[in-house]
Symmetry: C2
Subunit: 299 residues, 2 copies
């Protein structure tokens, strides 16, 4: 585990020399699949500080604590923020900016805040000028997830070998960016930097558009006999089982790029329709070959 010492060093370096107050405290806001998996990965990789969970439902936090994921839980974000070395917001994307602003009011100078949301521009724009001095937010998006929900599906290996995009801006302190990189690398991620706008443009195509297409396909027919679907249908529509509320926020947080992607995909579907209607085998084969070439290139 080459990353482990590096991250521990980064966290420990923030602390005072007195052992009693040097224990790093990671606050996970939203202990669901992603938040729970972060906690599980921290545990498995030997993180030696405290993991504090923040949520809206005390009984869920108690369950997450009983499951060994968090050391303690609270519904009081401000109180948790006051203790934090690092806060990670794993809430739905439409609640991240407000949560960061609330937490920033009580957290200590030098605290780093980040998130795990699937859109970055709206969040980073909203926060860019509104944080108190000495408190840093850097956007993150670990490209890992599942159509499943809840910390019960937490997976300590969820981030292993996956990319995590981080989106610093020109004002981001270098030390905070290094700390954030170390954190995600400690969990097993490979970290890539880009701007929030670049992130949202690319993810519109690699994640948000596929979600809409899978949902449109699954939504088109309500009466399909499950026994007559094979793995093709199941794979193509799998992500349509994701949480509707989460995806409303994501899609409405990146409308322009998603609609642009939808139009390009719609045009491609129209080309397929024309080739099939005209029984144009050459055109249809060319369309299928392009698709195969693109897909094979992804690996």
């Amino acid at each position: 585990m080459p990353h482990q010492p590096r991250y521990n060093a980064a966290v420990m370096s923030k602390s005072s020399p007195a052992p009693s107050i040097s224990e790093p405290v990671i606050v996970i806001v939203g202990v669901g699949l992603i938040g729970g998996s972060i906690a599980a990965a921290l545990r498995q990789r030997g993180f030696r500080g405290r993991i504090l969970g923040v949520g809206r439902t005390a009984v869920r936090l108690e369950s997450a604590q009983a499951a060994g994921l968090i050391d303690s839980g609270t519904t009081d974000l401000s109180a948790a923020a006051a203790e934090a070395s690092l806060l990670i917001f794993c809430t739905p994307v439409d609640r991240i900016a407000d949560g960061v602003l609330e937490a920033a009011g009580t957290c200590q100078p030098g605290t780093l805040l980040t998130d795990a949301g699937s859109i970055k521009r709206a969040i980073c724009d909203e926060l860019s000028t509104r944080l108190p001095s000495g408190v840093t937010f850097i956007g993150s998006h670990p490209l890992a997830g599942s159509e499943k929900q809840g910390f019960e599906h937490a997976d300590a290996d969820l981030f292993l070998g996956r990319v995590c995009v981080v989106t610093p801006d020109e004002t981001t302190p270098h030390r905070s960016l290094e700390q954030l990189r170390s954190f995600w690398e400690f969990l097993g991620n490979r970290v890539i930097e880009m701007t929030p706008a670049e992130h949202d443009q690319i993810l519109a195509r690699t994640s948000h558009l596929p979600h809409v297409v899978a949902a449109a396909l699954a939504g088109a027919f309500s009466d399909l006999p499950g026994e007559l679907t094979a793995s093709g249908y199941r794979d193509t529509t799998r992500i349509a089982a994701g949480d509707p509320d989460l995806w409303v926020s994501i899609l409405l947080g990146n409308t322009e790029a998603v609609v642009s992607g939808l139009d390009r995909c719609g045009a491609k579907l129209a080309e397929f329709r024309d080739a099939i209607t005209n029984r144009d085998a050459a055109a249809l084969k060319s369309l299928l070959e392009t698709a195969k070439r693109n897909r094979d290139a992804i690996g």
Copy 2:
């Protein structure tokens, strides 16, 4: 293996009492992923007759024989058909009807012919009045497959627990239908009967349309960074890596139902586009909920 005695009995019952000529011969025409998997499953489940492979390339047949899948191989379909108890055509769908007609010219009275093609109506219509007396063709479609190609990916468990649709018509001899059911059940399939037209209507929605949608999505962007795609993109587009030639034949063999499905999916995509463009969270949530409900119902 409850099916095994039943199938062996069905095959054996066709033979003469003389042991030397009573060995059942199954001829697999097209020893690729599906044909190879049928051979592998027959072996694994203890089939005690001969397995003969027919293909266009002698060297590929020799490799399949060397791999232990077939007992022998030939490029001469007519010669193989003369020995067959049962022929299964696992060729691309646009070559099945011609192959069946060629084989029917030399096979013995009582021989059963079937296929494994993804479309049924065009094939069954073409064959319904053209076979010699005493030779029976019944369409089959085992709902199993892969985007991979070639007998090198043959899997003896490919059919385990999967549905195989068979499409007899009113003239199909009961005994042939029983023999065909026993054959697929011996491989581990669950057999369902329907008409060729019903099959094509349903498979347009559960298989052919998803293929077009996955290919349109994969075809829309040629420049995606693979490291920024997560499992959502990979699953949604996986089948776009399938063989273009195979899919040209399938899609052009079921145009009407596929275009009808495309239009319904296109209308659903337009609803998503409207909801996103209008930032209509309620409409978007409703669309995503319907998709999730349909997908969850498939299991």
